[in-house]
């Protein structure tokens, strides 16, 4: 649900727009992994603010619940028990996973539905569900494996960075709920300054590779991490070392796109000819029943 003004758009999926000259200041959510205690207050706040209901699951031998991001859970704490080979000490790395709000968003690039994914000048990448066709290309386009398709309405869902709250001058619900201020929100400039102070503190405690995760491969992100071991992002539940948009998406957006459109046009023409020759398809009662069963199975 987009709540910022259409004038604030800088990108719109499968369409071209002229961004307004006045841009909003870029925002960022900073997740300081070194301050996070993995309490899941962010998960609860996210479900409650977005009015989503998740199922009561099971324990599978880990602390993650639910076990992955879902169309309802836009954020998830991921827990990694990592033995530091240098100190032989256990470190319990807890990372809040969710949309990174890339400056160069792979989801938006991959999306074929006009206006289903938009990017605002403040950096927020948002899904506009009324335009979503549920094709799932955004998942393929995302280097962080974030969007999830709802089996109920066949639309893609992910963190909105609480664009509705940000639009009225509030920070995201997760940041508001975080008891240890591990999640903070502000201008990206300010967040980077704050992160630099945190890194100084972490280095003074012996984390010589402490650093910011703001990956250039996607043009930087509007969700940034402070990591104790920024040289090894993959130890934090497979945070990508150097995330990039899949070459398939890049190609799709280039030459292939036009080739594909040509192919669709040809199929269209063939279809019309087929109709003229053979007449319309009829839906049999068997088809109806199959459709009904399929629908019930999913609801």
């Amino acid at each position: 649900m987009a709540s910022l003004s259409p004038q604030d758009l800088i990108r719109r999926s499968a369409s071209s727009i002229t961004p307004a000259a006045n841009k909003l200041p870029e925002v960022a959510k900073m997740i300081d992994v070194s301050k996070c205690i993995g309490c899941k207050a962010c998960q609860v706040a996210c479900l409650e603010w977005n009015d989503r209901r998740e199922e009561v699951g099971v324990n599978t031998g880990v602390y993650e619940n639910p076990h992955d991001l879902t169309p309802n859970s836009f954020t998830l704490m991921r827990y990694t028990e990592w033995v530091n080979p240098e100190t032989q000490s256990l470190e319990w790395l807890i990372r809040k996973d969710g949309c990174m709000h890339c400056a160069d968003p792979g989801c938006l690039k991959a999306c074929p539905a006009p206006g289903a994914i938009v990017q605002y000048s403040n950096g927020i990448v948002d899904f506009v569900h009324v335009n979503c066709i549920g094709c799932g290309y955004c998942i393929k386009g995302c280097p962080f494996n974030i969007p999830r398709i709802s089996q109920v309405d066949q639309k893609a869902y992910k963190c909105t960075l609480c664009s509705d709250r940000v639009a009225v001058g509030q920070g995201p619900a997760c940041a508001k709920a975080c008891p240890t201020h591990a999640i903070t929100f502000g201008t990206k400039e300010q967040m980077l300054k704050d992160a630099a102070l945190r890194i100084e503190d972490l280095r003074s405690r012996g984390y010589k590779n402490a650093g910011i995760y703001d990956p250039p491969g996607v043009g930087g992100t509007h969700v940034i991490y402070v990591l104790h071991h920024a040289d090894k992002p993959e130890i934090y539940a497979s945070l990508p070392r150097d995330p990039k948009i899949s070459p398939v998406v890049e190609i799709w957006k280039g030459l292939t796109k036009y080739a594909g459109l040509a192919a669709i046009a040809i199929f269209g023409v063939v279809g019309v000819l087929h109709h003229l020759v053979n007449g319309a398809n009829r839906v049999s009662s068997q088809d109806e029943e199959n459709a009904k069963r399929l629908k019930e199975g999913r609801s």
Binding site: I37, G38, G61
Partner: protein, 810 residues
């Protein structure tokens, strides 16, 4: 807490031991994060498990559950041996120099005076030598071999780093690093805070765990200072309020004590509550006991409490046993001697030990009344829920009456937080259905009881029919009316003795604080330590001004902190004998030549000269106690005792099982398991996702942590063939549970006394009611024994066995 949550930001070193602040107190934990981020503070976590607190610590040391005293006495031993002592503080503000009576001794795990048959001590030798003038004898030179310091030195000498490793399983290098960091805070400009909770209290020697750390903090000079203190993190939003208001079977509000049988009249009662100073010029503030007590009686019985009837002293019940704690209550139900039970805001079927015994006890009752916002397991103890509650309802005759009550978000009143702040709150919504405020329910019950007594009479009706009940609407006392009563008010004008045209106190006015309470019946006060919370200035608990001059963390205009809005207890000890702060950057109060003043309300008479009146004004000594005389049942010093169920024999006292004076009921000793049959050391704990047994009724919390599980090390899992996410059965001498297994690196086997000790972790949030999946609580397994002083059950250390099982059929 001696200090407050907000004060934790002032510390240099946080030691979390006997608790898991990040996990169980995530909101308060923000002040630890603050100290780390802005002060460069370090965090040490000592725990059997690598907890959420440990995940953000600078140093983690494992320890076997139930061995904290050995660890802490080891640290004290290290500090003494390496001169990491705040000497000026120790000599002036503790009883280190006091000389102990001949006859006191400690040998083979026992102090002088032990009576095995009674499981008790004759504590007469645990006291000071007295001078001819009637004061305690001291030796400021610390040369006397019987002075407290030398006795302590000898007492802790056993606990070498090697012995600590042998008992606790803490690797020596880790232990020494902890010692080093803690020892550094003996400097006058360095402080450490201790944050603990039920990880220390829920042992058969829980009180002594806390004493051991308190002694260490005194030796380091860390009590009464900013960023220091002994900080008990209370497990409920208002559990501090519960103890303050005397909701213990042996207490009256404000830590006054209920009389015992042999105290048949007020004079006898007061004869042991005189608190004569043990040194000249000391305040010994409990000398005012009678003022608080009489004012309490006046608030209870108003005009019926007169000087002639000893202020209705006879109306008070007289204890025939030390206390009617939860264990004794269930024991009596079990024996069929307690037939009715009013259970208000409590779910003992999950929170008291040995569930089988609890179910049998509740089944013996004639009636059970519950008052709770939730449909608790206790209220449904008779309801068959398959293996989760295997009972036969046709065999249970107990009549259960459930009275739905409001929850904290639906009513008005104050909550007292861990830092002693009374914070007023307002309802966020209306109560659902027929739920009523607890005060309304209690008033309705009372008025009907009173009417019955008035109509039909009965044995000794006076305490009921003469109860002072001044509320505007008798059936519905309002929170502000109760708060004003607790604060206290003037019953009769008190004229000024120097000028009879003036009054010191005016009838009908709220008292300003407990300082003006009197023992002649002219004042009334429901709870003296809360006095000042709602005086003529208004409802001070509702204050919301968060200004904080010089950012000391005191926030004096926010809410009300007992006593008298003081934020740090013993704050006089933050200054030296000349009244100057030990650390000028942590100034709290200082002596300006005529009076004490500063950022906090002085914890001393403002005009008390710094070199004369000592800081620990509640003690007759004026100083703090490294040696507690006969005030604790199990010793004037802490000593290491194993849990009643332990994987090893006590290395320092092999003949002693558990705490030698802990109360064990008949039949319960036989229900303790041994390590041959039950080889694994189990412990119980909370998880952040839940709050006790409440939030499993909340859908979203149930989503976050849906299903009961136990945690084991990778090593134990391998040994037993346990798969992470697979099913296990865990059983003790008293019961058995089924759970999912979480196999984790966060638990590692320890080596104790040459033996590998595996730990099984059992979280406590599941039952058979609510939104989460049905499960068990650790109390199906835990032993029926409590702390020797306060009877808090031993939930944190017991023995179990474990095996993988196939997935149970639902």
């Amino acid at each position: 807490m001696t200090n407050s949550w907000t004060d934790i930001k002032n510390t240099d070193l946080v030691v979390i031991m006997g608790g898991n602040a990040a996990e169980a107190h995530p909101c308060g934990f923000k002040w630890v994060v603050e100290a780390k981020a802005h002060r460069g503070a370090k965090l040490i976590v000592v725990d059997p498990r690598f907890t959420r607190s440990a995940s953000v610590s600078d140093l983690y040391a494992p320890i076997r559950q139930g061995t904290d005293i050995a660890f802490l006495l080891g640290v004290i031993n290290h500090c003494i041996a390496n001169d990491k002592v705040q000497w000026d503080y120790v000599k002036a503000y503790t009883n280190a120099t006091y000389i102990v009576k001949e006859g006191f001794s400690y040998k083979d795990g026992l102090f002088a005076g032990y009576d095995e048959a009674k499981r008790d001590y004759n504590r007469s030798s645990w006291d000071y030598d007295m001078t001819a003038e009637g004061f305690a004898a001291t030796d400021p030179s610390l040369q006397n071999p019987r002075c407290v310091w030398n006795l302590l030195k000898a007492h802790v000498a056993t606990y070498t780093p090697e012995m600590v490793e042998r008992i606790c399983g803490t690797p020596k290098d880790k232990f020494l690093k902890v010692c080093q960091w803690i020892g550094e805070t003996s400097a006058k400009n360095k402080v450490m805070t201790s944050m603990y909770a039920l990880g220390w209290t829920q042992h058969s020697k829980g009180s002594q765990n806390i004493r051991a750390m308190a002694m260490l903090q005194l030796i380091l000079g860390n009590i009464g200072v900013r960023g220091g203190g002994m900080n008990a993190l209370r497990g409920h939003s208002n559990i501090q309020g519960l103890t303050d208001l005397g909701l213990m079977s042996n207490l009256l509000p404000g830590y006054l004590t209920l009389p015992v049988e042999r105290e048949a009249d007020l004079n006898t009662y007061m004869s042991t509550r005189g608190f004569k100073p043990l040194q000249p010029n000391q305040m010994s503030y409990w000398q005012n006991y009678k003022k608080f007590f009489v004012s309490f009686q006046k608030s209870m019985w108003g005009a019926a409490a007169t000087k002639d009837n000893d202020f209705a002293y006879d109306y008070l019940p007289k204890l025939d046993v030390p206390s009617y704690d939860v264990l004794r209550a269930f024991e009596l139900m079990h024996q069929g001697k307690m037939n009715g039970y009013v259970c208000q805001g409590f779910n003992p079927l999950l929170s008291a030990p040995n569930r089988k015994k609890l179910t049998a006890a509740l089944s013996n009752l004639k009636f059970l009344i519950t008052m709770d916002p939730l449909d608790t397991e206790t209220a449904r103890f008779w309801d068959n829920h398959g293996k989760y509650n295997e009972v036969d309802p046709t065999k249970i005759q107990t009549e259960v009456i459930q009275l739905p009550s409001t929850c904290f978000a639906e009513d008005e009143g104050s909550l007292t937080n861990s830092g002693r702040w009374l914070q007023w709150h307002w309802p966020g919504g209306d109560a659902p259905g027929e739920a009523k405020a607890d005060t309304w329910i209690m008033a309705q019950v009372y008025l009907r009881l009173k009417a019955l007594y008035e109509k039909e009479g009965g044995a000794f009706a006076d305490p009921i029919v003469k109860l002072h009940w001044p509320y505007k609407e008798a059936g519905d006392p309002k929170p502000d009316e109760l708060a004003r009563e607790i604060n206290g008010y003037v019953v009769e004008d008190v004229p000024d003795p120097n000028d009879s045209t003036k009054k010191i106190l005016e009838k009908g006015k709220q008292v300003v604080s407990f300082a003006v309470l009197r023992d002649d019946g002219s004042t009334a006060c429901g709870c003296w330590i809360y006095s000042g919370c709602f005086n003529e200035a208004g409802n001070n608990m509702a204050r919301r001004d968060n200004t904080d001059p010089d950012e000391t963390g005191a926030f004096l205009k926010w809410a009300f902190s007992w006593p008298v809005n003081r934020r740090i207890l013993y704050n006089r000890a933050s200054a030296d004998l000349e009244g100057k702060a030990w650390d000028p950057t942590r100034k709290l109060i200082e002596w300006d030549g005529t009076k004490w003043a500063g950022y906090d309300v002085p914890d001393i008479l403002p005009t008390a000269k710094p070199d004369v009146v000592m800081p620990f004004i509640m003690n007759p000594e004026g100083v703090s106690r490294l040696f507690t005389r006969g005030l604790m049942r199990d010793g004037p010093f802490p000593a290491h005792y194993e849990p009643f169920e332990s994987p090893v024999v006590n290395p320092v006292a092999p003949k002693i099982r558990g705490n030698p004076v802990a109360r064990v009921f008949k039949g319960d000793m036989e229900q303790f398991g041994d390590s041959k049959e039950f080889p694994y050391a189990a412990t119980s704990y909370r998880l952040t996702e839940h709050f006790h047994f409440w939030t499993k009724h909340v859908w979203v919390n149930a989503v976050m942590q849906p299903e009961f599980f136990v945690e084991v090390s990778e090593q134990l899992a391998k040994e037993k063939g346990i798969r992470s996410g697979g099913w296990v059965r865990v059983w003790s001498k008293r019961g058995s549970v089924q759970a999912k297994a979480v196999v984790t690196k966060r638990i590692v086997p320890l080596t104790c006394d040459g033996k590998t000790v595996h730990i099984v972790g059992i979280p406590l949030h599941w039952g058979f009611m609510g939104a989460a999946r049905k499960g068990f609580g650790p109390n199906s397994l835990t032993p029926f024994v409590g702390d020797a002083n306060i009877e808090t059950p031993e939930y944190k250390a017991f023995l179990v066995d474990i095996e993988p099982i196939p997935e149970p059929v639902a």
